[in-house]
Symmetry: C2
Subunit: 508 residues, 2 copies
């Protein structure tokens, strides 16, 4: 699959599938007009790194093929050796949801993988934490000023006394009041907030700070004994005192916990890509897909997501569903999203981003084909609607927007306790509630950001490592991170993004 040349000066491209009439340029900085490849191909013009070159003459209207699939049709005749940028490709229609095959090619279950464990915090509900955190959530945005003040004091005055507790984090969100709480889609933000409070890394001890007059009544998030309502407090000082007092009771409990050996099946792995480029689909994403298969073989739950990015490859996913019902659930989520976009007068052309395009991705079809590589080769055993909690194992499609920060928040609500994040352009993304491991698609990114990238899958393109090797590296590093033996760069620097709820219902 990869042309294994080690000399960076020699022109090098990657052709993924035998059917492809395109390949992407591997060389750092791209290649100039006239560059000659070992196969005899001569570049008709300069082509940037990661961008596509035509391997054959493609007549106007003919198929442009990558990953063995049609990513579009030639807007005009494209000669062999031409740079195929997005203006040369007409995007095909999205696969019609009524016609995609359901569960007709379900892969055989992969061979179980035994003998791998991690050191986690066992929870009463059967889940396991990869961190030991006091989470303090909110029923409404109004209270966050008070909560932040309290958390600062808890961190300064209380946390040092409880060294087994990793962190105290306030869960901000923009919901809770001033929202159409009875609108049909309100179920999404509400269950997200509910499930975030139950995240395995909070050990069943999350507190809720509420105001008292909000629409999202705190009782919907946690039992009464875990709730502090500010309107019941006598002034600011008592608010802080009450929060700190309740926090300390939980810190004592959390501090008594110790890591114990847990099977891989206690992990809920979130897969995500952000700042993708044309290498994502040939280096990082396939390596993550290999690791995803290892986790599924070990009995873990593995979440892949990003509706708008898999929408154009859904016909490759539904056949993998474990049964027709799961296939139909997948279709239902796509339909809901199609209608959500339509209602806002948007469509799938809103993706990819300008940065994706600079990175060589022509359109969402090409992006989707690369994105689904993360899902590996397992049967798809379940589908989660946005904000739902994962209650089963295996490869699950967690329906979320592709937005990195919104997807991350929803995967946390699903119970994700380690996230594997592939990036081509580079992002410093991180989450306070669970570790985010960054996998780069290109050597150049690793070289540029050595203090942010955890694993470099760019070595696959340069022939220094195979997909399998990087896949195993990812698998092993996740076990180290989940066990607290290794820290991600994002956690090392404390880089943590905001929780960003998905609220498709109106604000009022």
């Amino acid at each position: 699959m990869v042309t294994n040349l080690r000399n960076d000066q020699a022109p090098l491209y990657i052709k993924v599938n035998d059917k492809d009439n395109t390949a992407i340029i591997v060389n750092e900085g791209g290649l100039r007009k006239g560059a000659v490849f070992p196969c005899g191909l001569v570049l008709a013009e300069g082509v940037p790194q990661g961008h596509k070159v035509a391997l054959t003459d493609i007549n106007e209207g003919e198929e442009v093929i990558r990953y063995g699939h049609v990513i579009g049709y030639a807007e005009r005749t494209i000669n062999r050796g031409t740079w195929i940028n997005d203006t040369l490709i007409k995007m095909p229609a999205a696969p019609p949801l009524e016609k995609v095959p359901l569960s007709d090619k379900t892969p055989a279950p992969l061979e179980p993988l035994e003998g791998y464990t991690f050191q986690g915090y066992r929870n009463k509900d059967g889940t396991a934490g990869t961190k030991n955190i006091l989470g303090i959530t909110t029923s409404v945005q109004c209270v966050v000023g008070v909560l932040d003040y309290a958390v600062k004091r808890i961190k300064e005055e209380l946390l040092p006394k409880y060294p087994n507790v990793d962190d105290v984090i306030p869960l901000h969100h923009h919901y809770g009041c001033g929202v159409a709480i009875h609108a049909p889609d309100a179920v999404i933000p509400i269950r997200t907030i509910q499930n975030l409070a139950k995240h395995p890394n909070f050990g069943g001890e999350a507190l809720v700070v509420g105001l008292g007059c909000e629409k999202l009544v705190p009782d919907r998030i946690a039992p009464r004994e875990n709730i502090i309502s500010l309107q019941e407090q006598k002034g600011f000082k008592q608010m802080i005192h009450s929060i700190m007092e309740m926090a300390e009771e939980r810190l004592i409990k959390l501090n008594s916990r110790v890591r114990e050996t847990c099977p891989v099946s206690d992990l809920v792995i979130g897969l995500q890509c952000g700042g993708s480029d044309a290498f994502s689909g040939v280096t990082a994403n396939p390596a993550v897909g290999y690791a995803a298969d290892l986790f599924v073989r070990g009995g873990a739950a593995v979440l892949f997501s990003e509706v708008t990015e898999v929408r154009d490859a859904v016909h490759l996913l539904t056949p993998r569903a474990v049964n027709e019902e799961v296939g139909r659930s997948l279709i239902e989520e796509m339909k809901w999203y199609d209608s959500y976009l339509r209602r806002g007068e948007a469509d799938r052309s809103a993706n990819p981003s300008p940065g994706n395009k600079k990175g060589g991705l022509s359109n969402v079809v090409e992006k989707a084909l690369g994105s689904v590589a993360k899902s590996g080769s397992s049967p798809i055993s379940g589908v989660l609607a946005p904000g739902e909690n994962a209650r089963q194992k295996g490869l699950l499609f967690a329906a979320t927007p592709a937005s990195d920060f919104v997807c991350g928040t929803l995967q946390l609500a699903a119970g994700m306790n380690v996230q594997i994040f592939t990036t081509g352009r580079g992002t410093p993304y991180g989450l306070a509630a669970a570790p985010v491991m960054k996998v780069s698609t290109r050597n150049a990114l690793q070289a540029q950001w050595p203090d942010l990238i955890d694993i470099n899958a760019g070595r696959i393109a340069s022939g220094e490592a195979s997909i399998e090797e990087v896949g195993w590296e990812i698998f092993r590093m996740v076990l180290d991170i989940a066990s607290g033996r290794k820290q991600t760069w994002a956690d090392h620097w404390g880089l943590h993004n905001d929780l960003c709820l998905f609220n498709p219902a109106p604000v009022t």
Copy 2:
């Protein structure tokens, strides 16, 4: 208007308008069945404080009147002395937008008010700051982990060297990528972010931290020399170094600024209510309305907002428009919001909140009638669409959701440099970018939260102060706050809510 009894034990109610067949109970803790009022009215059952009592027998289907307006129709016969809770009232239809009168009762301009000034920071663009802040905004959520790290170091290592600078604040938002940036409604979050960066309290020196591949390209927010793009940096350490270096250049400039005497007309006053109760419309809001008139007379811009809360009183507003065009703009904003709610299958019954109802507000009509009292008696001289900047003076309707945090963010984008916030149930709300002054509607709230409430308008209900007196107090306190002579309680404790963008367009 107010029954001026000083003895808290004697039954006391407030009837606002001669036409009213309802009144609200003033006594703390409410009144028991059998309580006898000076007018001879006897309570047929217990009535909580702030809740309504029937002053006459009201037959099934007859009008229930408060503020001289119909707030609904009796669901069944309501006897004199009965507690009128929300289940007894059928809500009237919203005023039809096609039929409301436009600009037919424009009030005469109020008499100019001379001789009042504040000490502000004069900006090159003609605006004035009430604080001197280094604002660092973002083009996308991805970067906030890095930005927060940098801001922490700037505050610790640089800010102490520049004592004339009040604060360094990172402007987080959930926008920038993973959004339908070409959807029609995307204009709202985009111009909000653009206008936030130009807030008068940032003195024209706001920086932008961007990633490099986001959809909202940073050039749309600020000139190139104010932008740091993380993907252009060599690793995390250089990111922090670059941000700190650019921050220090701006801190030097900001530090050289001094407060100077500015006319009241340099103020942009935002009016808001949150956690409203039945007293809001008779104490705090009318007092704020009186202060609003003083500011308009002084030549300031005064913003009142909250579409869903004025929607049911729009027929009282459009006649006050300075001309038909302004009246039509007001209607256009209402129409847009009606359609936005409809598209999300929500309606105006989503407001009020459970807390509003506990406070005695039966429905959004009653809430609206109390809410518009904040707007005083001036002509309405302009309308701002959500996220637009105020470019004129006088009383302006800034169309925003009623959500406290979303409204506050949009008022900041409009250039609001002091916010007056009335509350009945109580909220600790605050903003980092501009001071928020809290006005309580009830004595009990001031007594309960003495370290959060800045002015108590509850004294109007208990007869200790008149609307005019509290109005002048608010006016003078705003000038003190705007001058940095007085600090709000929210700023004293550092209670600052998140910026919460209004994004009615889809995420992708």
